[in-house]
Amino acid sequence: MTDPANTPLNALEEPEITRPPRSQWRDVWDQFSHHKGALMGGGFLVFITLAVMFGDFFWQVDPKKLDIRAKDFRPIYTVLWNSDAKVGWAHPLGSDNLGRDHLAQILAGGRTSMAVGWAAMILTMLIGTTIGVLAGFFKKIDGPLMRLTDLFLSLPILPLMLVAVTLFRQPLRAQFGVETGMFILIVGVIGVTSWMQTARIVRGDILALKEREFVLAARASGTTSRGIIFRHLLPNVLSPIMVSATLGLATAIITESSLSFLGVGFPSDFPTWGKMLADAVPRMQEFPERVMLPGVAISLTVLSVNYLGDGLRDALDPRIRGR
């Protein structure tokens, strides 16, 4: 090899590598970054998450502080079309009828809503996927598990919620304190009552997939059931799970708000986006921003999660990738 005269024919030489080898994740990222909506959605989600997590370092106003003298401030931008509006830089997004600062409330409320949304969604996905995979893969427990799913589907959520609050509120409050206790309860109840759609979808996909040749091949080569599920089946049902996860996040935020509205959620002075929205409805005509701001925050968050899920699904599916 050291003697240049003995160099083999050029034709047999390895072609010169013009670019570095591509990893799978690089492909995924390329595909993902072609999806404009997904990029924007992801960007917004990162922004809103950082904002609700660290916003109170920059805007150090207590969201629960009442200041009756400064009630009913309008957002700063109202000046653009109404120069008489009561505005002030102390309350850039205005204040409510008891003088609580709106910006601080949006930040604090967002933290609760996002935390509830994400936690409940993850719980929902865990339960739904587990039940769906087990029911689809193991024929013996398919019947009982699906009947259990039907049972949960037929449960009316609201009365169930009231019962759960009655039974578990006191012990959880004693154990974890008011706010953490309520958080666990709400996340738990939303998780327990909304996993059924995911379970059905996952079961359907698993039923179809497990008859395919590659599963047969895996089994023939001695892969355990556990290996088949984790290596071959789960990656293939990722896209429907992603879609229900994005929907689940939205539903969880909305459910939390309706619970707070009925008074079975967090204490009434604990802001969440949903509660801000519900509280603002009677004064909607005079102060549309009180409905708009939390409403837009909920919608944009849900929309960005949807787009993100859409992009991830495309990027993770090798059959779509590159098209």
Binding site: L66, N97, T166, Q170, G263, V264, S268, D269, P282, E286
Partner: protein, 567 residues
Amino acid sequence: MKLKTILLGAAAAFAVAPAAMAERGADGHVGVIYWQAPSIPSPYLSGGTKDGDAASVVIEPLARYNENGEMVPFLAEGIPTVANGGVAEDLMSVTWKLKSGIKWSDGSDLTAADVQFTAEYCMHPEGGCAQLASFDGVDKVEALDDLTVKITFKKPMPNPYGPFVGGQTPIIQKAQFANCMGAKAQECTDQNFYPIGTGPFMVKEFKPNDVIQYVANPNYRDPAKPAFATLTLKGGGDATGAGRAVMETGEYDIAWNLQLAPDVLAKMAEGGKGEARSAFGTLVERLEMNLTNPDPKLPPETRSTREEPHPFLTDMRVRKALSMAIDRNLLVEIGYGKAGRATCNLVPNPAIYASDNTECLTQDIEGAKALLDEAGWTDSDGDGVRDKDGMKLSILYQTSTNAVRQDFQALIKQWWAEIGVETELRNINASVFFGGDPGSPDTFQKFYADVEMYANNFDGTDPQAYLSMYRCDNEPQPDNQWNGQNINRFCDPEYDKLIDQLAATGDINERAALAKKMNEMLTKDTYTIVPLVDRGRVTGVSNTLGGFILNTWDNELWNAADWHRIK
């Protein structure tokens, strides 16, 4: 030519219209909206205000209270008193004379036998009558002749106007309900849904929990009334929607009980179709202090019962400090506007019974702090919350879910924080909170909290029954399935003596003095009950509806016969 005739005819019709006002049914249709839907138009089978009101345009009592709280005869010839001999000297009986010539809507005559029957119907031991309290102490009701009825009591009754006075106890027809006594009362659907009455309207169509259609009663005693031929009572929705339907869109003429913030009501009134009217009765929004311990660690048999006194609310200085920290006038401004008045009294009305207690109306944060210092509550660990012997001054404060109440909670929490009291807020769905289910831990009777807020009032003008609620041992407890009415678990033998004394006193001025004293014992002497706002009843009324008089002493629709359209 033809067009001209029509136009002339129309013009003539308009010219004649004012004269036609005095004719039954000339003004067409009137619409009433209640955001709680009536489920059965009978005050005897349901305690709900909505149900009693739905019945009140059909069936009538012997006498009603007018807007000033005075009795006016309806089916009776006049009001019996000791002076005119209608009430016996020994206060053991009262004799009513019926007006002659009154007919039921089916054309038959109203007689004293119907009145007697109504009493038997409600007092039937198996009936479960919702108005049994009005017949409290009644021994027997007998018809002396066709138009005379005598009510005999078991013991002297200084206030003999319980039965058949006010909208709760109207007269029903014997012929119709004869087979609906006792346990069968609930089964008589036709009779209960379509009662025959003497009132200005009769039920034409009833859809439970939705809507009632009424038509004018052809046999009503005044041939010129009612001015409306039909009446619709629509139920359901919420207070906001009902307010809009009257004041902004004008679809309805009357909207009942609009408990909405004053700025919201003012905005609706800008719609120009109606106005919000308010009148004051006896409804008081108050804080109730729990004198017993609601600690969840206690067993259910003794939790929130007199066996376990409250660790710190039993100290009068703490209760007084909590009251002093509150600015009641600001609460009124935020929550009720013109429909509320700051008050320190449990019995704010009628004037003769109202104590001149105004001490609590000025907020005194510094005084409250000093009082807590004096009671030994200091902030020893510097966390902003006062403590004593290792116990924090931390309060669980509950109420029902309602936007105005949640605003009140937030404000009061802030004031209490200023004097070093930590507050946890809780709001509970109203149908659970007021539902009275002995199995639920969240009812206002069980009072598994330190402080709770709600409003209560009394029927009619006499506060005796209301003040008697605070008798020792009348508190909700496991023995009575948590059905008692002494919510604070107040217990004072002195007070019990006054209750007995009030029940035996006939003279109105002596009664008033006693009632004032009892009111003060519960409020400014002990701060067991901390009144906040004397709440008016707010009703949305269309600008084109005439004759409607808001009455807090009787049913909302009490004078439906006098309503007319303003042209």
